[in-house]
């Protein structure tokens, strides 16, 4: 997951060279915020629509597909699932 002050420009949040919410059309103001990716190009995003039921949840969009999945309700649950994945 990306934060700010990252030393790698591609991991920086909110810059043109990094994870930028405006890579998506119609995401202005941002309803989702890209916050990370996976080696195979899937996108990890944070729902930032304060009026939505999913506000604060973290999802994953499959690369080259319209499919997206909810990974966790919040960042804590996201780390919890990294630690204890089900087989």
């Amino acid at each position: 997951m990306a934060g700010i002050n990252a030393t790698h420009p591609s991991a920086e949040l909110g810059l043109l060279g990094g994870f930028n919410p405006f890579i998506f059309e119609d995401n202005d103001p941002p309803q989702i915020l890209p916050i990370g990716d996976t080696p195979i190009g899937n996108l990890i995003f944070l729902v930032t629509d304060p009026d939505g039921d999913d506000y604060g949840s973290i999802g994953l969009k499959i690369a080259f597909s319209q499919n997206s999945f909810r990974l966790a309700d919040n960042v804590e649950e996201f780390f919890e699932r990294l630690r204890e994945p089900s087989e």
């Binding site: 997951m1 990306a2 934060g3 700010i4 002050n5 990252a6 030393t7 790698h8 591609s10 991991a11 949040l13 909110g14 919410p21 890579i23 998506f24 059309e25 119609d26 995401n27 103001p29 941002p30 309803q31 989702i32 915020l33 916050i35 996976t38 080696p39 195979i40 190009g41 899937n42 944070l46 729902v47 930032t48 304060p50 999913d54 506000y55 604060g56 949840s57 999802g59 994953l60 969009k61 690369a63 080259f64 597909s65 319209q66 499919n67 997206s68 999945f69 909810r70 990974l71 919040n74 960042v75 804590e76 649950e77 780390f79 919890e80 699932r81 990294l82 630690r83 994945p85 089900s86």
Partner: protein, 167 residues
């Protein structure tokens, strides 16, 4: 692991480059189980040391499922804070919160050679204004969390345990 379609329509391709119709069709035909396997594999690969990481310089593979993370998780499950401070969070929520702090603290101790400077609260506020988003409070905390803060939490838990033993 329970995951649901988040129901968001994304109107532009994520990655640069053209995958071609065949690749797109193949991706769409993957079963959900196969996709979950790919997600897990991708998440695991991200934690490997040869993967540039924005937060840590990793000196060895980081596996959050193995000790010391497992030991800290067990310690957190005793959760003295919930009993001593009348914490209103559910047992699981409290367990998760403390375990997350412990995991971050352990990752710093075990793997961090060089800590990149963390953003300040003012920088995050500026980021929110620039992006025109209101970040969820827990995500703000994730961006701001420091080893000092997590150490203070762990020490306070230890002090409470000594000063007021469980009945």
């Amino acid at each position: 692991m329970h995951r649901q379609d988040v129901g968001i329509v994304l109107t532009a391709p994520f990655a640069a480059g053209d995958c071609g119709n065949d690749q797109k069709r193949a991706d769409e035909q993957e079963s959900q189980a196969h996709q979950m396997h790919r997600i897990h594999a991708a998440e695991t690969q991200w934690l490997r040391p040869n993967r540039p990481c924005p937060i840590f310089n990793l000196s060895s593979p980081l596996d959050l499922r193995k000790p010391p993370f497992g030991q800290l998780t067990q310690a957190a499950s005793r959760c003295p804070k919930r009993i001593m401070e009348g914490c209103r969070m559910s047992w699981r929520a409290c367990h998760v919160r403390e375990a997350v702090v412990s995991a971050i603290e352990s990752a710093y101790r075990a793997f961090c050679k060089e800590r990149f400077p963390l953003p300040t609260a003012a920088q995050i506020t500026e980021l929110e204004q620039r992006l025109r988003v209101v970040l969820p409070p827990d995500y703000r905390q994730y961006l701001l969390i420091t080893t000092a803060a997590s150490s203070m939490i762990l020490k306070s838990l230890h002090r409470i345990t000594i000063a007021r033993p469980m009945r």
